[in-house]
């Protein structure tokens, strides 16, 4: 059982009710275990969904995991769906931040793409329940979440569009308006299939294939393969 809390029990920021929070049995990152009820409800939902699936999760499950009252739940959210949207947004913000950071640390675009994809796979592997929440459960959590899901995927397009910069006319002629959409859709498809099948341990081994697939339209297959296999 890991200690999910950062501040010590004696520190002034440590709210007394946090002592009642059950330890994260599903390895939630400490960022989610919070100093406020909303975040604890989000963490509680994530744990409840990991145990019961979205359809099988009740508000009672959520409040039990969050160690708050039902009344408190309704102070923050009108429904299970709404709580899920908040949880989804939280996970996606974390994922986005990691991908962005890894991407921006590289000077050259091909390496930046590789770093961004690696960061995504690393997060999904380290947090298999959050991976499932954001890519499997999200699909059955209502239209608001599905829309968020679609936007999140389309939101990856600009990272790849950046690869058009400086390419020869010949390369650009081989790209179409939907190239980046197709690349992103294809990569997400590979990743989400493995998450559906509960094979998250295979995700990191996808890295070379994903990088080669993504870079080939811009660099050609030989160069793309080289970047893909870089250590």
């Amino acid at each position: 059982m890991s200690d999910p809390v950062n501040p010590s029990v004696d520190s002034p920021e440590y709210p007394p009710e946090l002592a009642r929070l059950p330890p994260g049995r599903h390895g939630l990152p400490r960022e989610f275990v919070a100093h406020n009820q909303r975040e604890r409800l989000i963490a509680g939902l994530a744990e409840a969904v990991a145990e019961n699936g979205y359809a099988g999760t009740t508000i009672a499950h959520i409040t039990r995991h969050a160690a708050v009252s039902r009344r408190t739940f309704y102070e923050h959210f009108n429904s299970k769906d709404e709580c899920f949207v908040a949880a989804y947004d939280t996970v996606m913000a974390e994922l986005r931040q990691r991908v962005d950071q890894a991407f921006s640390e590289e000077e050259e675009w091909p390496q930046a793409i590789r770093a961004g994809i690696a960061a995504m796979l690393e997060f999904l592997t380290a947090e298999p329940h959050l991976a499932r929440l954001s890519m499997v459960e999200a699909l059955v959590a209502g239209p608001v979440v599905i829309e968020r899901y679609d936007s999140a995927i389309q939101g990856l397009v600009p990272y790849f569009e950046a690869g058009r910069k400086g390419r020869s006319a010949e390369v650009l002629a081989g790209l179409s308006p939907s190239t980046e959409e197709a690349l992103v859709g294809g990569m997400v498809s590979l990743i989400s299939r493995r998450i559906f099948a509960e094979r998250t341990e295979e995700l990191e081994s996808l890295l070379p294939d994903l990088v080669e697939f993504a870079l080939t339209p811009y660099l050609g297959s030989v160069e793309a393969a080289k970047v893909a296999r870089q250590g």
Binding site: L139, V140, G142, P143, I146, D150, I153, Q154, E170, V171, A173, G174, S176, P177, S178, T179, E181, A182, L183, V184, G185, G186, M187, V188, S189, L190, R193, F196, L206, P208, D209, L210, E212, F213, T216, P217, S221, A225, A228
Partner: protein, 228 residues
């Protein structure tokens, strides 16, 4: 078995055979579910909605399907086999692999454009319905993988291609079609054919050869434009 909900026989002396009525009923129920799901989303649809839309008794629904989920899975299977049937018909006879892919993609796009409710069922709603439908969706994609995989034999560097290439290509094509279905623009789908063909063939043949196939002049019989 006798059923109160058996439709009255047509005027005249002919009785429709019971198997025909049963099959027809099943199709009616599937059709009703498909329409209800496309309007309300899978979660909100109830068996009551379906039976009302189909104009049948609740008993009749349960004589045909055990549950909403079972009915949806049947709808999805119906839709997917309609799609695959068109692809196999169009592509099956063609020996030249790039043209086989082109014909298969054209047939699939025609299916999406002409039967958007069925396409939505197996490509959009299926992912948000139930675990059984997601599993079936994954299996269906495998059928397309085998079509694409033949390209490795005709590709100069077939050996070096990533193992997951076909999966990724198909995932990409489906994602694009999904986006178009979401915004209900089936009429724009035919125009995607050249770029999808190029996208699919490039990893095997190189950009130039792929583009040549994609941009070939088409005769009227294979044009993917919708009927006027």
């Amino acid at each position: 078995m006798a059923s109160k909900s058996t439709p009255r026989p047509l005027p005249g002396r002919h009785q429709l055979p019971r198997e025909f009525i049963a099959q027809h009923q099943r199709a009616r129920i599937i059709n009703a579910l498909t329409l209800e799901v496309s309007e309300k989303g899978y979660r909100s649809v109830t068996v009551a909605d379906i039976v009302k839309r189909a104009g049948i008794a609740r008993n009749t629904f349960y004589e045909n399907f055990g549950s909403k989920e079972g009915c949806f899975l049947a709808a999805q299977q119906f839709a997917m086999s309609a799609a695959l049937g068109r692809v196999v018909d169009a592509a099956g006879e063609i020996d030249d692999w790039p043209h086989r892919v082109e014909a298969g993609l054209a047939a699939f796009l025609r299916f999406v454009a002409e039967e958007p409710a069925l396409a939505r069922t197996c490509m959009v709603d299926a992912l948000a319905a139930a675990p059984t439908s997601v599993r079936y969706y994954e299996e269906s994609l495998q059928a397309f993988v085998s079509l694409f995989r033949l390209g490795r034999d005709v590709s100069p560097h077939g050996q070096e291609l990533p193992a997951t290439l076909e999966e990724a290509l198909i995932g990409g094509v489906f994602w694009i079609l999904y986006q178009r279905l979401l915004v209900a623009e089936p009429e724009t789908i035919g125009a995607l054919l050249p770029e999808l063909v190029e996208f699919a063939l490039t990893p095997y043949l190189g950009a130039e050869a792929a583009r040549a196939v994609a941009l070939e002049e088409k005769d009227a019989s294979s044009a993917p434009t919708p009927e006027a």
